[in-house]
Structure formats: structure tokens, C-alpha cells
């Protein structure tokens, strides 16, 4: 089976890209494919706690992130320097299990996968 890495680099509510990236990850997991998610650059904003989307207009992205584990996506990877650069408090996030990676570990993660889905 080919391994897929979804790299999600955009913030959650400004455009639909982050949501549609997560939907692709959920679909891959539902089809029992080997899929991992890496959040970096503005993509780390998806992890922010206390997201309060406008009821009836915006759907919660944090809820989709939380659904990943249920679909069998055990690990969400995130790029630590991206969070640090943005002053994101990594102690208070909307999901619990995140594996933080430095630059070298991101390079390693990319080289360990057969395909990249770039969002």
C-alpha cells in the first residue's frame, strides 16, 4: 500500500482549503489508506483552542480535527517552528495528541512517504 502525507499549510476559516484538506484525510482514512497529516505554516492555526465559528454560517474545523482519531488517523504531526513563529500556545490546543516536529523531522517525514497531497 502506498503511504500518503497530507501537508496542510493554510489557516482554518479564511478559505475552504484547510477544511477540504481535512475532508480528503478523513476520506483516505475511511478507505483504510495509510495517511498522515502534517500541519505547518499557517496550518498550525487549525490547532488553536477556543475556536468559535459563527453558528449556522461556519462549521467547526476543530471538530473535524477531533474526528481524525475516530477514523483511525492516530497521529497529527505539526511543525514546531511554525507554531513558535506565530506565538501559538502549544499547551492549550483543540486536540490532545500532536507530534511536534522540527525542520529535520519534517524532511524525514516527507521522505518516508510515497505521495504528498499539498493543501
Amino acid at each position: 500500500m502506498k503511504s500518503l502525507l497530507c501537508i496542510s499549510r493554510h489557516s482554518p476559516y479564511g478559505t475552504a482549503i484547510a477544511r477540504e484538506a481535512l475532508e480528503a484525510v478523513l476520506a483516505a482514512a475511511a478507505f483504510e489508506q495509510n495517511i498522515a497529516l502534517l500541519l505547518m505554516d499557517d496550518g498550525v492555526w487549525q490547532l488553536k483552542d477556543q475556536q468559535q465559528p459563527i453558528a449556522g454560517i461556519q462549521k467547526s474545523l476543530a471538530r473535524n480535527l477531533n474526528a481524525l482519531e475516530m477514523f483511525g488517523v492516530d497521529t497529527v504531526y505539526a511543525h514546531q517552528p511554525s507554531a513558535q513563529k506565530r506565538g501559538l500556545n502549544t499547551a492549550e490546543l483543540c486536540i490532545e495528541s500532536i507530534e511536534w516536529l522540527d525542520d529535520d523531522q519534517v524532511r524525514q517525514l516527507i521522505s518516508n512517504h510515497d505521495h504528498l497531497l499539498s493543501f
Partner: protein
């Protein structure tokens, strides 16, 4: 196996090229396409970083059609101008393709 990185945003407006240059690995290649071709100018804020990446063995290309459309030519002599045929060949030569946009 290595990765081909495509970048389509101007480094004068956006951090995308900088992120790519920070995270590309030895043996990778970078291809500037669309507005990413503004990264081939010496005035780009990413030029020093780009030169250091090239110095450690990463090859940087720019798509000729996209340079020409913008009235540009690569001002950095260590960037190779290529056509779509070579873009296809590069994507065969690398295992994965990361699109930075």
C-alpha cells in the same frame, strides 16, 4: 528518494518560498512557477537564502513560460530556465512533489 518542490507565490508578497527554502532537503529540486518566478530576481527578499540552498546542492529551476509572461528573465545565473517537458521529466526523477501555494 527526493522531492520536487513547486512554488507559485511571489516572495515579495508571501512567505511561501521562504518556507520551501527552509524545509527542502539535500537532493531535492525547486521549481518556480507562476508568481513564484519573481523569486528568480536578485531583489527578492529570499535571494540570500536561495543562494545558500543552491550552495548545498539543491537545484533551482524556473518555468520559462511564466517568466516570459511577466516580462522577466532569471537574474540569478544559478537558476535554470525550463519548459513543461522538463517539468514533467523532473517530476519523474523525484519520488514526491510538494506544491507550495
Amino acid at each position: 528518494m527526493s522531492t520536487l518542490h513547486t512554488v507559485n507565490k511571489s516572495p515579495f508578497a508571501d512567505q511561501t518560498l521562504q518556507s520551501c527554502l527552509t524545509l527542502c532537503a539535500n537532493g531535492d529540486s525547486i521549481l518556480l512557477i507562476e508568481d513564484g518566478t519573481y523569486g528568480a530576481l536578485t531583489a527578492a527578499p529570499t535571494t540570500a537564502l536561495l543562494n545558500s540552498v543552491i550552495a548545498r546542492g539543491i537545484t533551482v529551476y524556473a518555468l520559462g513560460d511564466d517568466l516570459a509572461a511577466r516580462g522577466l528573465h532569471s537574474q540569478l545565473n544559478n537558476i535554470t530556465t525550463i519548459n513543461y517537458q522538463t517539468f514533467v521529466r523532473l517530476s519523474c526523477e523525484h519520488k514526491t512533489i510538494q506544491s507550495w501555494y
